[in-house]
Symmetry: C2
Amino acid sequence: MTPEIITSLQNPRVKNLVKLRDRGPRDEQGVFLVEGYRAIQRALEKGARPREVYFAREWFLGENEDELLATAAACGAELVQLGREAFAKVAYRDRPEGLLAVVEQWRASPGDLKLSPVPFLLVVEAIEKPGNLGTILRSADAAGVDAVIVCDPVTDLFNPNVVRSSTGVLFAMPVALATTEEVIAFLREKSIRTAATTPAGDRELYDVDLRGPLAIVMGSEQFGLSRRWLEACEARVRIPMAGQADSLNVAMATIVALFESVRQRRSS
Amino acid sequence: MTPEIITSLQNPRVKNLVKLRDRGPRDEQGVFLVEGYRAIQRALEKGARPREVYFAREWFLGENEDELLATAAACGAELVQLGREAFAKVAYRDRPEGLLAVVEQWRASPGDLKLSPVPFLLVVEAIEKPGNLGTILRSADAAGVDAVIVCDPVTDLFNPNVVRSSTGVLFAMPVALATTEEVIAFLREKSIRTAATTPAGDRELYDVDLRGPLAIVMGSEQFGLSRRWLEACEARVRIPMAGQADSLNVAMATIVALFESVRQRRSS
């Protein structure tokens, strides 16, 4: 543990933590931020590699923080104590809990994924909002997919709001990044059928066989799926919609498509 | 139109608009806030009654604002122009669009609802987060329920974040408010079957018949459904869950239950 307490808001480490909210510095340094007791705990449980954990006792909410710090140290993290104000500056959540970890990023390609005997995948193309990507990861976890493939990413997987809104699923769920062409080639090679979910789908979700090796494919908030994906997919399905055209956003449509797959696959 | 432009941040109208972010003043005055072009447009389309519309040309983003103001005036709204800074003070959204309406609240009881021949309802008990309630309203709209019954409300239906996250559905979807006992009595009188969604459900969602007169019943984020509701419901269903126990929040569980109902009911 670094013995002194950093109190200066001008300290280079403090300044760097603020920088890491932006993608450029995160990618350059190959790390990202994980804030709060629960998120850090989940990161450690799932084998994420913490480089540093910054803490400020004045902000602690519970009694188990020291144990968590000890675990982080055992995982190789440097522990750095901050003063109250310095921590307030680096915290990005509404209620600071006095814990902020700098964790190593990871990268996986589709080829790195371990697929189950009857693969079940979610592919998302160019999702824009971090909150949607985080919610989608949660849905994928709840539905028990093998992995999520993020295609032509717009939102950085390691954006603080993805970390937060995924409620720890980011650390547990295998996620691969690749281009559209790479993913299409991968799915074909593995003989995994693809179902694109789109308002222009020619069949209703419930009329399509979603058993067997399957990838559900979802497009971006604003543009939906690219033409390339729409043409490459074996099925184009639509979710029956009452009400306003925009009542289902991409995260909601994803969970509906995933759980219809779950329903069909449980009896197969 | 009030001829002068209000520029003082101390103007009583400006101060009142800030107050209306809180429930007490909203309920006392029987109004709530609707901000932004699209939300106000939807409110007017659906017959909401605007008392006042505050606008600030400096913040306008498009070219149709004047037409919207004219429509609002034709619906009986007083138009009040604010200066740039005064509007910034009253706006609660991140990007002000220079339009903020004060709209009359409404109240409906279950008995006021128009039910379809085979009723399909959503009952939510004591939802805490406005964002969840708004998302739930969107899901209910997409699933085509007759109405949503909000039971023992914790979150005020007219909270600005419910208005925002419902993306206008609040103005279109019939919503009734009542106590648990009133709702249970109402559903029994109408012979509407109830399916409680709970992690402790004894049957999987997919094994339960959700056709016929039906109310899906959802509990609060923190506590789930009350014992009273769990006992009163004809079926207690659980959503099959892989992954982390908390991957499905109440809004996500609601949409899964609603769309499984949609699937079953379309073939009935």
